[in-house]
């Protein structure tokens, strides 16, 4: 069981990093997964040189969705917009370090979907794999 709920996931879930919202966000986006009721919002503050200076996430949902959002905020902080856009699904799954079934994978990737929505300023920027 610990292979699914590794200590690092539980830790991010219990003690989320960068939780909250930003008043002066330059990029913001929110989405949910109605199937599970997971909801994630991401606020980013990007400075003049295109670097992500601050990031916050807010939301509710299962441990996987919330932990992955928390991890993702750590991944993007200090990165350039281009670097952040390059974060892939696999990067998230690697960070989580667990095998996920088809339902849970949506939980895991919701935060990335929201991040991309914020970065590209639109929804559906990353499509489901075909």
């Amino acid at each position: 069981m610990d292979d699914l709920y590794r200590e690092i996931i539980l830790d991010h879930y219990r003690n989320p990093r960068n939780k909250g919202t930003l008043e002066d966000a330059t990029h913001t986006f929110q989405d949910d997964n109605p199937l599970c009721g997971d909801r994630i919002r991401m606020d980013l503050k990007v400075n003049g040189t295109g670097v992500i200076e601050q990031v916050r996430f807010d939301g509710e949902g299962c441990a996987i969705s919330q932990a992955s959002a928390s991890m993702l905020t750590e991944m993007v902080l200090g990165k350039s917009l281009e670097e952040a856009k390059a974060i892939s699904k696999q990067d998230i799954l690697d960070a989580l370090g667990i095998q996920l079934g088809p339902v849970r994978i949506k939980c895991a990737l919701l935060s990335l979907k929201v991040l991309k929505g914020a970065l590209y300023g639109l929804s559906g920027a990353i499509d489901e794999e075909e």
Partner: protein, 408 residues
Amino acid sequence: MLDSDVVRQDFPILHQSINGKPLVYLDSAASSQKPLVVIQAMDEYYRAYHANVHRGIYQLSEKATEAYEAARRKVARFINARSWREIIFTRNATEAINLVAYAWGRHNITARDKILVTEMEHHANLVPWQQLAAETGAQLAYIPLDENFCCDMAAYEAMLDAHVKLVAITQMSNVLGTIVPVREFVARAHAVGALVLLDGAQGVPHLPTDVQSLDVDFLAASGHKMLGPTGSGFLYGKRHLLEEMPPFLTGGEMIRRVTWTGAEWNDLPHKFEAGTPAIAEAIGLGVAVDYLSRLGMENVRQHEVNLTRYALEQLSQVEGIRIYGPQQVERRGGAIAFNLDGLHAHDVAAILDREGIAIRAGHHCAMPLHQKLGVVATARASFYVYNEPAEIDRLVEALDMVRRLFER
């Protein structure tokens, strides 16, 4: 009495381990497992006598036709329909309800009319009526639940008037387990001239169901939730209603005659079965119905009452659990929705899976109900003929473990 030890022998799938632990299957409300006799009947069909039905003048086809139509008669007897002509095979309960929404609803509902549903309907018995209401301008209204998760009958009565044309209700909630007093619903609906469609997806597999005594006008059910194969379900309709309805799907089998300019429809039930039917599936469902009849639906019900009573007792010991649904076992079936305080149902289900325990988590296709309950998701354990008390013990132990894991 039903001996689940004996029954379990008939279900090959149950004899396996998941992550090294014996499978505990507690998701029969989503789809039941199948006894060997059902699996074998379909296997035998494909190996020995598969052919298209109804029009064949050779022995394979005649044998297939006989088996297909015999299955229909079994289903008719199982729910005590007056005639086999009142049974229409469908893919699932959803298709059965849509058939009524299209073939009856589109021709009988106008902007002045009202349709009533309960607050605990499955999307299958909700979205088709939302769509019908949107298309026709009719009003869709919700019969509220009381604080005991049962229908507020006084509110229902107050909602009934001559504009109500249809009352579409579940026989048993797939979330709360609530059993609906169908006869009362029907008597009052008929008193104002409304028809009643009963969503029996959860009720028919678990409760003795007699359409004549219930006097419902339509009954939809899922074969795959009552030991039958996937791709099987049926609609029961009172004959005179089905006779008056135009067809739904059109094509082969459902016609008597086709000319360049139009068509005449076949007799019931064929009028509503266009194209090559799901033959193996109907045959499998017939065998499932035989199996249930052999167990006896009263015994099935009693077995589940016992399990549900035990489960409610044991689950209520779990720290921080919240159970949604009536406490009295007489008023409910064996689908038990719950949440552990502060935990998402998905996490609960995922950890249970590691323990070999299969439950469902989510909105169970009843999003409005979950909104009413004030949660986005619940975990749900549901029982059937093959479940036994020891499995409930395993569930409870595992839930305790879930708690400990997240509290660490």
